[in-house]
């Protein structure tokens, strides 16, 4: 092949590169290794982790059972190794699946429309905020103090150069829910939106309707964010919200040290043209048969460039497909039963920790996570004792909640594990 191109040596193909731009030595990277050795390397890394430990960590990344069929299907090469479906005629498989994903996310969240996915919940949140700023043409944002702290940091990174005023709304120290009086006092005619997480970082379900009524009275939008999608199987959807941003990792993706996961963005139908990200839409082919294609792309960077609603291009399509299959497998009855099991497991954990004298920090209704304070010593001491019993304990909190921890119980935590964890209290 080289000779057919008139080159006698491979270097000929790179001869036009300016000499000062060329690398004149081999890369300082060891020689390639075989498949067997690669597996060995990663098995060694895996063994340095918390294998065979029970875990009560949640805090935005959750452990849920993954039905085997999910991987059987998403590892099919036609899904795994296809590109973004710009060529609709040979991408109907992924386009149909995206359309189903959008439908299920809308059904789940009580919104009219959902996009094809965002990177994750933490980046979907600032995208939702910017969307609200475009819609309202206002720039002040209110952020619940019970938002996931890392999400708050991401919001900061995305927005600080916009010089948009951002204010925190307190949570009620007793219930753990948003302080409605504080919200009321901060809302004004410059407020673009309130961002509130539900269940919030402390696992507590917010009073969405009461919040929405106050926010809307000031012409602002309500953005509801969630990190634990399993809650959506039983918790009333935030239909009073204008935009819902969230994280679908719980639906079929293991924690994977925090990523990849699957951000979602859903909204009221009238806001569709201000949404970021890809959308699949229904249409027909030349023979009048139902078909799907990516649509409303004049919102997107590859058409609108500097005036696009976002710079997002690559999203989390394969993880969204995992979520789609997961929602299909569990279905209407399964998601509810799954959520009920999570509620039951968390209540059992609460009871055995209370038996050891630990106290819940908040009185508000929680789903599968709650903040608990040990009777004696701090969370860190408990976690240390738990580790000795092959248990990874809860997430240690700081600030006013110093000494307490956020614990999570899912359908994967066996009764015996919870009893073992309780012994560390």
């Amino acid at each position: 092949m080289l000779r057919s191109l008139g080159h006698s040596a491979p270097e000929g193909l790179f001869a036009h590169l300016p000499p000062e731009s060329r690398l004149n030595r081999p890369l300082d990277i060891p020689d390639g290794i075989s498949e067997y050795e690669i597996i060995d390397y990663f098995k060694a890394r895996a063994a340095e982790g918390a294998v065979d430990y029970a875990s009560f960590l949640g805090a935005g990344s959750y452990r849920h059972f993954r039905p085997v069929v999910v991987d059987s299907l998403v590892t099919r090469g036609e899904f795994l190794t296809s590109y973004t479906p710009y060529q609709a005629e040979i991408s109907q498989g992924v386009l149909t699946a995206i359309f189903e994903f959008q439908t299920m996310v809308a059904q789940l969240t009580g919104m009219d429309v959902a996009n094809a996915s965002m990177y994750d919940g933490s980046t979907a949140t600032p995208e939702a905020a910017m969307m609200a700023m475009r819609i309202t043409r206002r720039d002040k944002l209110l952020v619940a103090g019970s938002l996931h702290p890392e999400y708050n940091e991401v919001l900061d990174t995305y927005l600080k150069h916009l010089e948009a005023p951002r204010q925190q709304v307190k949570y009620d120290r007793e219930s753990g829910q948003l302080d409605l009086a504080d919200l009321e006092s901060q809302l004004d005619d410059q407020t673009a939106a309130l961002i509130v997480q539900s269940p919030n970082f402390f696992g507590i379900i917010e009073q969405i309707d009461e919040i929405a009524e106050r926010v809307h009275r000031h012409g602002a939008l309500l953005i509801v964010m969630f990190t634990e999608s399993v809650a959506m199987g039983i918790v009333k959807p935030p239909t009073a919200a204008d935009i819902v941003a969230g994280e679908l990792q719980s639906f079929a993706h293991p924690p994977s040290f925090g990523g990849p996961s699957c951000g979602v963005l859903a909204a009221k139908g009238k806001f569709i043209r201000q949404m970021p990200g890809r959308l699949a839409g229904e249409t027909v082919d030349a023979d009048g048969r139902r078909a799907f294609c990516l649509t409303l792309s004049t919102r997107e960077q590859y058409i609108r460039r500097a005036k696009a609603t976002s710079n997002i291009c690559t999203n989390q399509a394969l993880v969204a497909l995992m979520g789609t299959i997961y929602m299909t497998v569990f279905g209407k009855a399964g998601l509810r039963e799954l959520a009920e099991q999570n509620i039951a497991k968390a209540r059992y954990l609460e009871s055995v920790l209370r038996d050891k004298g630990a106290k819940l920090e908040f009185t508000g209704p929680y789903f599968n996570e709650f903040v608990v304070r040990p009777m004696q010593g701090a969370a860190a001491d408990v976690n240390k004792r738990a580790l000795a019993k092959n248990v990874v304990g809860g997430f240690e909190l700081s600030g006013p909640l110093e000494g307490a921890m956020l614990v999570c119980a899912t359908e994967m935590n066996r009764r015996e594990e919870m009893d073992r964890f309780a012994e560390a209290f």
């Binding site: 590169l17 731009s21 990277i29 340095e48 982790g49 090469g77 150069h161 792309s297 960077q301 299909t328």
Partner: protein
């Protein structure tokens, strides 16, 4: 003549909602080993939803058949050449999938104690070191979730760096051949975009750039090799010009597959760049994601790297979560960690020499295609091609055939189309990138198909204009989809 494919049957399949029947289910949960709790009591009646309306109710076999049937309606790299320019559709090694699913990796929780996360932290550290060596840069962050996210991270770092010097400046310069993400990113980071024209050779117009750079210029974002597949030979001069005015050079690394092992951006003056691990480093595109967009920087930008930072001290790896000067977090946790695992597996498999050979094969394949069809398709730029080659439909438009028609006809020949109508500086562009994955046999079939379509465009233009003819879905009406957006399934009125 169509040599690569012949039609076979595909199954019809409704939407999952249309397959659903009340009471059917495909899940299994174990019996609860703790007391049952009434959700209304636990959450309060007002917080409990009645049901998820119209959610699927199907069996496990239904699920398998449904998604398997859907999958057969897709083209994929596993089926053959996927010559999308700038997208780098290369083979996705399966060992990468295997190792990403090992228990200690897939089930690692981002908040598990760091002494029990040494493996996950080391994976990131090892990959950072390799990427720094490949790019010739001083430090790397693996946090960004995709290329565009990497761009935003990089531009925010430039902003932080300039701000620290007293002035964030106002403008980002972007060549007219750039990916749409570049201007969209600059706007998101609060900069005005000024477009720099390309010259007759498809390269950045240096004189125009010189005239545009001033004290308000924060950075130039450029892709190298550029989107026409040509190495920007003035790159060192461009860097010098920017630096002399206190501006930064950002490189979009989407086309890094043309350089690995042969040239390093850090050596030709780039200050900050991103890589697309789902392109150059073989992680699967998965129908549109997930990707990962690590950002590599020179020393002077390292204080502004996002958090967390993984550092090695002796044999211990630690994630630092606070650093003065950092732009902060760009994503929760540790980026798209599972994608990083796959990219490291790819790097380990190739080694330094293997990576260099892969680049060679990618450039060789692109030039082989160029040579194979350049007598039939108009080549707007004569400059030597690297990993991709851009033609235009100038000759075929005489018969009323556009790049989009040729692309759709390629489908009948068993190939995924090339990138259509991009870059914007080439009217009616055909942007072709074969990658190193392809054998000579596959390339010859592609060349043969392109030659055959060129002949059809002369002899039977209607045949090309009406393509594709052999797919289960004929040409899709995108206009109708946009005019009347239907973006979710609605139950029939009778329900």
């Amino acid at each position: 003549m169509i040599k690569k494919v012949r039609p076979h049957q595909t199954q019809n399949e409704p939407l999952i909602f249309e397959r659903s029947s009340p009471g059917k289910f495909g899940y299994q949960l174990p019996e609860l080993d703790v007391p049952v709790v009434d959700p209304q009591t636990a959450l309060g009646a007002a917080n409990v939803r009645t049901e998820i309306p119209h959610f699927p109710e199907v069996s496990e076999v239904d699920v398998i058949r449904h998604y398997t049937r859907l999958s057969t309606w897709n083209y994929a790299i596993d089926l053959g050449l996927y010559p999308l320019g700038s997208c780098t559709m290369k083979y996705n090694p399966r060992v990468n999938e295997f190792v990403a699913r090992l228990d200690g990796i897939a089930w690692a929780h981002p908040y598990q104690p760091q002494q029990l996360a040494q493996g996950a932290l080391r994976i990131q550290h090892d990959l950072e070191m390799y990427l720094a060596e490949i790019t010739g840069m001083d430090a790397v962050t693996l946090q960004p979730a995709a290329g565009a996210h990497g761009e935003l991270t990089g531009i925010l770092m430039i902003r932080a760096y300039l701000e620290a010097q007293g002035d964030a400046r106002k403008t980002v310069l972007i060549p007219d051949s750039a990916h749409g993400t570049n201007p969209a990113t600059a706007a998101m980071a609060g900069y005005e975009v000024k477009e720099i024209p390309s010259n007759a050779r498809g390269l950045i117009d240096f004189a125009a750039l010189e005239a545009a750079v001033d004290d308000s210029t924060a950075a130039l974002m450029m892709t190298n090799p550029n989107t026409v597949g040509i190495f920007e030979e003035d790159i060192a001069k461009v860097a010098e010009l920017l630096h002399s005015r206190g501006a930064q050079l950002y490189m979009d690394g989407a086309n890094m597959n043309a350089l690995v092992g042969w040239a390093r951006p850090g050596d030709f003056g780039v200050d900050v760049m991103h890589l697309n691990l789902h392109k150059t480093f073989s992680t699967p595109h998965g129908g549109g994601g997930p990707g990962a967009g690590p950002v590599a920087v020179k020393e002077h930008l390292t204080p502004h790297l996002p958090l967390p930072r993984v550092v090695k001290d002796g044999e211990t790896y630690t994630a630092i979560t606070q650093a003065a000067g950092s732009i902060g977090r760009v994503r929760a946790f540790y980026g798209n960690f599972g994608v990083l695992v796959r990219a490291l597996a790819y790097t380990l498999a190739h080694g330094g020499n293997g990576l260099k050979n892969a680049t060679l094969d990618a450039v060789l394949n692109a030039n082989y295609i160029r040579k194979g069809i350049e007598d039939l398709y108009h080549l707007p730029y004569e400059s030597p091609a690297m990993h991709e080659v851009v033609f235009s439909d100038q000759r075929q438009t005489k018969q009323g055939i556009k790049t989009g028609d040729i692309a759709k006809r390629l489908i009948d020949y068993g190939f995924h189309p090339y990138t259509v109508s991009f870059p914007l500086i080439v009217h009616g562009a055909l942007m072709i990138e074969p990658t190193e994955t392809e054998s000579r046999q596959e390339l010859d079939l592609f060349i043969d198909a392109m030659r055959s379509i060129a002949a059809e465009a002369e002899a039977d233009p209607e045949l090309v204009r009406g393509a594709p003819h052999s797919t289960r879905t004929s040409r899709v009406n995108e206009t109708q989809a946009a005019r009347n957006p239907i973006v979710k399934w609605e139950p029939p009125a009778s329900q």
